[in-house]
């Protein structure tokens, strides 16, 4: 029933053009209902976690695959690697069924760092984060950055590595 309203909210969030009136709907939605609604059109669930009273989900609309070529110093052969790219991503967090934040990102590139450390490089695309604060809802643009995170941190944070398979 809330699908149209949810879609409009997400459309405004993706453009970064929201005002206080737009967030009124968030005040009346149950977080669980909103997340279930969003899952209808963001159907790749790549992260989910419950910690204390907080529930987090990471969703994407599509999974793409990009390739890269890595030359090895002692070989003329250049192997090709495939990397998952989560496209049109959404993070939603809530405390006790009250929405706490919604973040939209155009993409997240996932690249193994290589070596023994079992680390993953995550490259965040452009996007916006909408946060509920004691002073009201605040929106901010995301910085396009790369972070290197351990597989153990990602597992602890509820990443579903199976969702990254084509």
């Amino acid at each position: 029933m809330i699908a149209a309203e949810t879609r409009e909210l997400l459309r405004r969030l993706s453009s970064g053009r929201m005002d206080v009136a737009d967030t009124g709907a968030l005040e009346k939605f149950s977080a669980n209902v909103l997340i279930e609604d969003i899952k209808n059109f963001y159907n790749i669930l790549f992260q989910e976690r419950q910690v204390g009273k907080k529930h987090e989900v990471g969703l994407a609309r599509a999974l793409k695959v990009e390739f890269s070529v890595r030359r090895h110093p002692n070989s003329l052969f250049a192997p090709i690697y495939l990397h998952p790219v989560l496209s049109k991503c959404l993070f939603v967090s809530s405390y006790e069924d009250t929405i706490s934040e919604i973040t939209m990102a155009a993409s997240i590139h996932v690249l193994p760092r290589g070596g023994e450390a079992k680390e993953v490089i995550l490259k965040l695309g452009r996007g916006h984060k909408l946060d509920r604060t004691p002073d009201g809802w605040m929106i901010k643009p995301l910085e396009r950055r790369s972070v290197t995170l351990s597989e153990s941190l990602l597992s602890k944070r509820g990443w579903k590595f199976g969702a990254l398979l084509p």
Binding site: Q47, V51, G52, L153
Partner: protein, 78 residues
């Protein structure tokens, strides 16, 4: 007692790196302070802590700590 950094939103981790590698710089002056919102449970305290993220940027973590030891609305502020 839980660690407030376990509650950091994943989007903030994508911008600021692993919270386990953030450097604690201390509590802000006046922190903690009783939560004064009309909806706050009696005894809830609001904490404001300063950290340096993986990129050397100074950030703040604001959180509500309830009398039962649980956390509410942990927020990272740039």
């Amino acid at each position: 007692m839980d660690d407030p950094l376990d509650f950091i939103d994943f989007a903030d981790i994508l911008e600021h790196g692993d919270p386990g590698k953030w450097k604690f710089k201390g509590a802000k002056a006046g922190s903690p302070t009783p939560a004064d919102s009309p909806n706050a449970q009696p005894g809830t305290m609001k904490h404001y802590d300063v950290y340096e993220d993986e990129f050397g940027d100074e950030i703040e973590v604001h959180d509500f700590r309830h009398p039962d030891g649980s956390f509410g609305d942990v927020k990272m502020i740039e």
